[in-house]
């Protein structure tokens, strides 16, 4: 019924500002869930922005320790970036497969996403372990503190994402493509894509800008 009221004005007033729509009832649970999760993701991004601000302020405060240009390895960062980007793509493929209820492509997409996420985590963990072994741990200088907290916080999010991913595969295996499982899958896809957006900021600001001599 709201359709008949809106369809004539759709072009003149696409955002329905000027007309009173008959109440179409509450939004479907899928929209409410995903919107709530979207608001959470935005607040998560706000939290990351504080870490970014701290890094921007402290990136020069090396206290006699190493600067970014001395410890960052562009090759590793490039591999990590490509891993996350491809995993975002395969996650998108898995969510399409979930929407059309195709188990094989869902499991394949999720498995590839999981492997790419794990490769990312292994490279990052080895980078951190290597820095700590050389005496450049988070307590060495304010620059390294902000570096470890920003990149480490993103790494923690990716770890949580991998756990969530495995949970989703198990839920689809045990419960099938039920409506509630599909809602969770949708939130997971949002989460994973948002992590990739944050990583774009990380590799640009931390590694490329901060690694400049």
């Amino acid at each position: 019924m709201s359709m008949t009221a809106t369809v004539g004005h759709a072009h003149a007033d696409p955002h329905h500002i000027g007309i009173v729509i008959e109440h179409p009832g509450p939004a479907s649970k899928r929209i409410v869930t995903a919107y709530g999760f979207w608001v959470f993701l935005l607040s998560d991004i706000v939290m990351f922005s504080c870490f970014f601000a701290a890094y921007a302020v402290l990136s020069g405060q090396t206290a006699g320790g190493p600067s970014g240009a001395e410890i960052f390895e562009q090759r590793n960062v490039a591999i990590e970036t490509v891993c996350l980007l491809l995993s975002s793509f395969t996650c998108g493929m898995a969510s399409i497969a979930a929407d059309v209820r195709n188990r094989f492509w869902f499991y394949l997409g999720m498995a590839v996403t999981c492997v790419l996420g794990l490769i990312f985590l292994v490279i990052e963990f080895r980078e951190f372990a290597d820095l700590v072994a050389r005496g450049y741990g988070p307590s060495r200088s304010a620059f390294l503190t902000s570096f470890f907290s920003l990149v480490g916080c993103h790494g923690l999010h990716v770890s949580a994402g991998v756990l969530w991913l495995l949970t989703m595969m198990a839920q689809v295996f045990a419960k099938g493509f039920r409506a509630d499982v599909l809602r969770r899958m949708m939130c997971f896809a949002l989460f994973w894509h948002a992590l990739d957006i944050i990583w774009v900021g990380v590799f640009s600001v931390v590694y490329l800008l901060g690694g400049a001599p």
């Binding site: 929209i31 957006i197 774009v200 900021g201 400049a212």
Partner: protein, 129 residues
């Protein structure tokens, strides 16, 4: 329960949800996004290590490329568009961006001014004694 998964036309879209497309079109959208994102990433890494361009322009170029890539991710992966069914999602995003710019921009601005206006640390120490 109101566990309906189909969305009536003319209604709002959840974030991350596309308008009804065929599977082929949806996959094509992700492929386009992936190619654009890879191109922008490759450009970022190339710009950061090159001597071909004027050096002071590199930080600006990197920031512009990063924002462009975030836009590509938002449109092609998260499906945030300017369509009428996406108004709520875009408004929430706009508010989030406002807070992000206030936090980052404000911090960098204030701290750089503080740095510029403060005497060096050894002078402060001498003033105290």
């Amino acid at each position: 329960m109101s566990d309906q998964t189909h969305i009536p036309a003319g209604h709002d879209l959840a974030p991350g949800e596309e308008e009804q497309h065929s599977v082929g079109e949806r996959i094509l959208g992700y492929v386009v996004g992936l190619v654009l994102a890879l191109l922008l990433t490759a450009t970022s890494f190339f710009i950061a290590g090159t001597d071909l361009v004027w050096q002071p322009s590199i930080p600006v170029a990197l920031i512009v490329l990063a924002i462009a890539q975030m836009g590509v991710h938002l449109v092609f992966f998260l499906h945030i568009t300017t369509g009428p069914d996406n108004t709520n999602n875009v408004l929430a995003l706009a508010f989030g961006l406002l807070v992000v710019f206030l936090v980052v921009g404000g911090t960098v601005w204030i701290m750089s001014h503080l740095n510029g206006n403060m005497p060096p640390m050894d002078q402060i120490m001498r003033m105290r004694t």
